[in-house]
């Protein structure tokens, strides 16, 4: 039979199907009317197939077309499949013995493949005949697999499909040669390669699915770009979400310096990046899901700046630019590049682009709320967002009001006039309260409201918020404990504050106790218990040093710094403690230690100045204060100290002193030392009423001075 095929193909070297001369291609369109005449006949043949009289039909085919057994079945089965008679097709295909067929094709094909390697000219014509036969049978098995899948027998389907690929591999041992393969055969191969992993997946055989994906992508199947893209995408999705533990691809045949993924996520990201690149090179069509998958994967591991690069590479015309800017801003904000993020959002929210994009407005307001200089801008964004959110649900409006409140609170700290400040503070409270009325379940809102009350020295309300926050979060957020403790300390309820701090320490792992221990030490100082304070600092120091040893070598970016105390702070705190006890030597040693860790620090220089001042080295003290101010222009304690020091130097320095103190109060209106010294300046100058006001302010504030600024939260 094979010989006949060969001779047939010699006659018609084009290799078109069907090669046999029995029906010339011209007849193609004339055929239906002819068969109309014999409609009853063909009808009866179908009936025969349905009845299972396949063998008869098959033998008639074999005789008529000089096909062998397998080929005839393949043809018949295909016909049935095409007509949608899946079960009948299956019955026909069942009779095909693939192994026998392969053995028949194998020698002829592989010999020829080999010989062709040396002599390309002989190529097409000689083996197209057996390729046809092979193609026919392989397609039959592929269709058998499809039929099984349609009948819900995924496992059997997968096995059949796999046998197609095994057969192809054993026939073409050197991979599929690109130019020499008939189109139909290639199509069957590609389809089977693509089908197999999906079948394994449906059958629940995930390891096999994985192997077959890798086999599809790493062997030479001569797949076209679109097909390969689809497989790569499905594989990436499978790796990303399949939840299957797998061994990484083997290192075999890898050149040096090549990237070999170690786990699912790495492999998935690699594939997604390759897919994007393929698109940029114009090899495939754009598929929006690829970018979404990559976004998901990269944001999971926090690598949004890399994601931003990929978003930037997306060709114009795919995303509307404002959408792209917003996404980029999210990426940069997640990577703490706030500057870049806000610049993109400014473009996005420009009146010529989409000024009312609610999500962009919210993000912009959020970014601005963390920066004094941007707070004014943030207020504008937040107000627009509130207006926009009016029409949508209460949730986003509450979010907008929350950010509005935060921005207003920030802005109130930098405005120059008292009047404006109090206006802003009232407004901030109003927004936060309104936000809470819309969303009673958001603890963050309660916390921010608490901070705002505390900053405005409404300790009673602040206390209520702090308690509510701890209740709402079940005490799982450290800053809640700290707020409560600081508020209590501001009410001079030190022992209660200590109880809270101890409770918080109980709920905190050793490693994260730093900030709490610092508060505890300061509470001890405030209660004039220096020895216990030293003890607390000692514990804190041990913790900080242990942390430095653990993380010092390998910088660990994931540890949030918010809960960390630096060693510098500890020495600084100890120095302050010793100098308040007039242990000058100890204080100086601590300051040296602090200096060794951080050479130019306003706090250290200020403390140095303090020591000089107490030792009556006025010039040195002033020099230290000014140095402090030149390292940090807005260092309030230094301004207060300069003011206080100058006010003692005689009447001609009083105006200068007054300047420094007022300046300090502009920056920190609740600084009671500034009020006190300003009062003294007024008194020296003879403005007694003003002096009285200042002293009153100072004494009022003394009752509400926390051991640590609320801003440290």
């Amino acid at each position: 039979m094979a010989a006949e095929w060969d001779s047939g193909s010699e006659a018609g070297p084009t290799g078109d199907w069907p090669p046999a001369a029995a029906a010339s291609p011209v007849n193609g369109k004339a055929a239906p009317p002819e068969s109309d005449a014999g409609a009853s006949a063909s009808g009866s043949s179908e009936a025969k197939v349905d009845d299972g009289n396949i063998q008869e039909a098959e033998s008639s085919l074999r005789e008529g077309l000089s096909l062998n057994y397998e080929e005839a079945r393949a043809l018949l089965g295909r016909l049935e499949y095409q007509r949608g008679n899946v079960e009948a097709a299956l019955r026909v295909f069942d009779g095909i013995d693939l192994q026998a067929a392969i053995q028949r094709f194998q020698p002829s094909l592989s010999e020829k493949t080999l010989s062709k390697r040396s002599n390309k000219l002989r190529s097409d014509s000689s083996n197209s005949g057996s390729q046809h036969a092979a193609s026919l049978v392989l397609e039959a098995i592929y269709l058998k697999s499809m039929s099984l899948q349609k009948l819900g027998k995924a496992m059997e389907a997968a096995k059949q499909c796999k046998s197609v690929l095994d057969a192809v591999e054993s026939i073409f041992q050197c991979g599929i040669p690109g130019v020499m393969v008939e189109q139909k055969l290639q199509e069957t191969v590609s389809k089977s390669v693509e089908l197999l992993p999906e079948l394994w997946k449906q059958a629940g055989a995930y390891q096999e699915a994985l192997t077959s994906y890798r086999r599809a992508l790493l062997s030479q199947w001569n797949l076209d770009d679109e097909c390969c893209t689809r497989i790569q995408k499905r594989f990436a999705v499978f790796l990303l979400y399949g939840g299957v533990e797998v061994a990484p691809p083997s290192l075999a045949s890898q050149t040096e310096g090549s990237f070999v993924p170690r786990n699912n996520l790495e492999e998935a990201i690699l594939l997604l990046m390759i897919l994007l690149k393929k698109f940029f090179l114009g090899k495939t069509h754009w598929d929006p899901s690829v970018m979404e998958h990559l976004t998901f994967a990269l944001s999971l591991c926090g690598q949004t700046s890399i994601l931003a690069k990929h978003l930037e590479e997306v060709l114009p015309g795919i995303y509307p630019r404002t959408r792209r800017w917003y996404s980029l801003a999210l990426c940069y904000f997640a990577a703490s590049h706030n500057e870049a993020a806000i610049n993109l959002l400014r473009k996005c929210l420009n009146k010529n682009e989409s000024p009312n994009d609610l999500m962009a407005l919210l993000l912009a307001a959020k970014i601005c709320s963390s920066n004094y200089l941007l707070s004014s801008e943030g207020v504008e964004y937040a107000k627009r967002a509130v207006k926009d959110a009016e029409s949508s649900d209460g949730h986003l409006k509450s979010v907008a009001l929350h950010f509005l409140g935060s921005c207003l609170a920030k802005k109130s700290k930098v405005v120059s006039s008292d009047h404006q400040r109090s206006l802003l503070q009232t407004e901030a409270l109003k927004s936060l309260n309104e936000a809470i009325s819309l969303d009673r379940h958001n603890p963050e809102l309660i916390f921010d409201l608490g901070i705002e009350y505390a900053e405005q020295r409404n300790m009673h309300a602040a206390l209520k918020c702090a308690k509510e926050f701890i209740d709402a979060t079940g005490g799982s957020v450290s800053k809640g404990w700290r707020l409560l403790s600081l508020v209590l300390s501001a009410q001079q309820r030190y022992s209660e504050a200590e109880v809270v701090t101890d409770a918080a320490l109980d709920e905190t792992a050793k490693w994260e106790q730093g900030t709490l221990l610092r508060i505890k030490a300061k509470l001890k100082v405030a209660q004039s218990l220096p020895m216990e304070a030293v003890e607390s600092y000692r514990t804190l120091l041990a913790l900080v040093q242990a942390q430095r040893k653990a993380y010092g070598s390998a910088k660990n970016g994931t540890e949030d710094d918010e809960n960390k105390v630096s060693e510098f702070e500890v020495w600084q705190g100890l120095a302050n403690l010793y100098s308040s006890l007039s242990y000058w030597r100890d204080a100086e040693i601590c300051l040296q230690k602090a200096k060794a860790l951080k050479t130019y620090s306003a706090t250290t220089l200020h403390a140095e100045g303090n020591i000089h001042e107490v030792q009556e080295k006025i010039q040195d003290a002033l020099a230290a204060y000014f140095n402090a101010l030149s390292t940090e222009v807005e260092h309030v304690p230094s301004k207060v100290s300069v003011g206080a020091l100058l006010s003692k130097q005689g009447p001609k320095f009083l105006p200068v002193a007054r300047c420094f103190l007022s300046d300090a109060l502009r920056l920190e209106p609740t600084n009671r030392m500034a009020w006190f010294h300003l009062g003294k300046v007024h008194k020296h100058d003879g403005r007694l009423a003003d002096a009285a006001d200042c002293f009153q302010a100072a004494s009022m504030l003394e009752d509400s001075d926390p051991v640590e600024s609320f801003r440290s939260l």
Partner: protein, 337 residues
């Protein structure tokens, strides 16, 4: 773990099943089938599962004397892999109920003991003090899946290394501020084995995810949370909103992603997961935490995209051949007749 009952160490799945039947009181319906393969029954049997989850959700569960928690603890500590899988199967309910109740600061020593055992296992898998990292590919380097033109002798381009999950420190008790991390690590452990988990377990997780998010506004109006109320409580227990810091949000969103886009072919699960993804996005916008917004937004978008079907066999190249074949066949058959 405190318990007044005498400890009965569990060594095999059979022990475990027997012990569980004792605890739940009376055999399960269909327990005869369970006897053949107790481990599979514990993992997959719907009756066993619903009996256990009902108990876990019931009021008063999770106390130090809860015998079911004791059973979970012992079963996990038996080091029989199949039993460990069966315990992991209940992680969604365990974590879900625990997180909702822990906010009220009830004593939940039973839950905590199980969670800590799971956490210790996760920490051991991680390796002491090791973070789980991901090296990000750089396409300038070749890989098994693509070629890159690398000039000879050029150094391979530097790779960025990202931390997927920070190191797990040992914890002997659940401190409130580490609660999210501990439960998050347990969820990571669950995610590792998620391919083995039965559908109902994943459904449970998606449901609790919605409860954790605590959507009290728009979403509530259209679609009430479908959590069945705790059966023996006087009123339905209200599952409370839970703090979702990144360390908890990240593993949760990964599990939801699996339910949504993984190879399971259950429309019910996909629907529930899509809802959970929407809720997570909703929650992420509340603080505009960019990572969470990006990840959950992508999931929501992906849930709205249609999956590309597997290509059907094409007969396009063979249409005229078809006609010929028909003709031939008709021909043959008619001559025969």
């Amino acid at each position: 773990m405190p318990n007044d009952a005498p400890p009965q160490p569990i060594h095999s799945a059979k022990d475990a099943l027997a012990a569980l039947a004792d605890i739940l009181g009376g055999g399960f319906p269909g327990s005869s089938a369970a006897a053949d393969d107790p481990a599979a029954a514990l993992l997959n049997d719907p009756d066993v599962a619903s009996a256990v989850t009902r108990r876990l959700r019931g009021s008063g569960s999770g106390a130090g004397s809860d015998s079911l928690c004791r059973w979970l603890y012992e079963a996990f500590r038996s080091n029989v892999p199949e039993l460990q899988l069966a315990v992991l199967r209940f992680v969604p309910t365990l974590a879900g109920v625990y997180m909702c109740r822990a906010v009220t600061r009830k004593a939940l020593a039973g839950f905590e003991a199980v969670l800590l055992a799971l956490y210790a296992h996760a920490a051991a898998q991680h390796g002491a003090g090791e973070a789980e990292t991901v090296s990000l590919p750089n396409l300038a380097n070749p890989s098994p899946y693509h070629d890159a033109k690398v000039p000879p002798k050029a150094k391979p381009a530097e790779l960025d290394v990202a931390v997927l999950s920070p190191p797990l420190e040992p914890h002997g008790t659940v401190r409130a501020t580490r609660r999210a991390r501990i439960v998050g690590a347990v969820l990571e452990l669950y995610h590792c084995k998620i391919a083995h988990m039965p559908l109902s377990s994943k459904m449970d997780f998606c449901e609790f995810c919605v409860a954790w998010v605590g959507t009290h506004s728009k979403l509530d109006g259209t679609d009430k949370p479908r959590l069945p109320p705790a059966p023996d409580a006087a009123g339905a227990e209200k599952w409370r909103r839970v703090q979702l810091p990144w360390e908890l949000f990240q593993p949760a969103v990964r599990i939801v992603a699996h339910c949504l886009l993984g190879p399971t072919r259950s429309d019910e699960l996909k629907e529930q997961a899509a809802r959970a993804a929407e809720c997570l996005y909703w929650r992420a916008t509340e603080t505009m935490e960019a990572r969470a917004v990006l990840a959950s937004r992508s999931l929501v978008r992906l849930s709205q995209m249609v999956e590309e079907p597997i290509p059907e066999p094409s007969f396009s190249g063979a249409i005229e051949n078809m006609a010929e074949l028909e003709a031939m066949r008709a021909n043959i058959l008619s001559t025969k007749n």
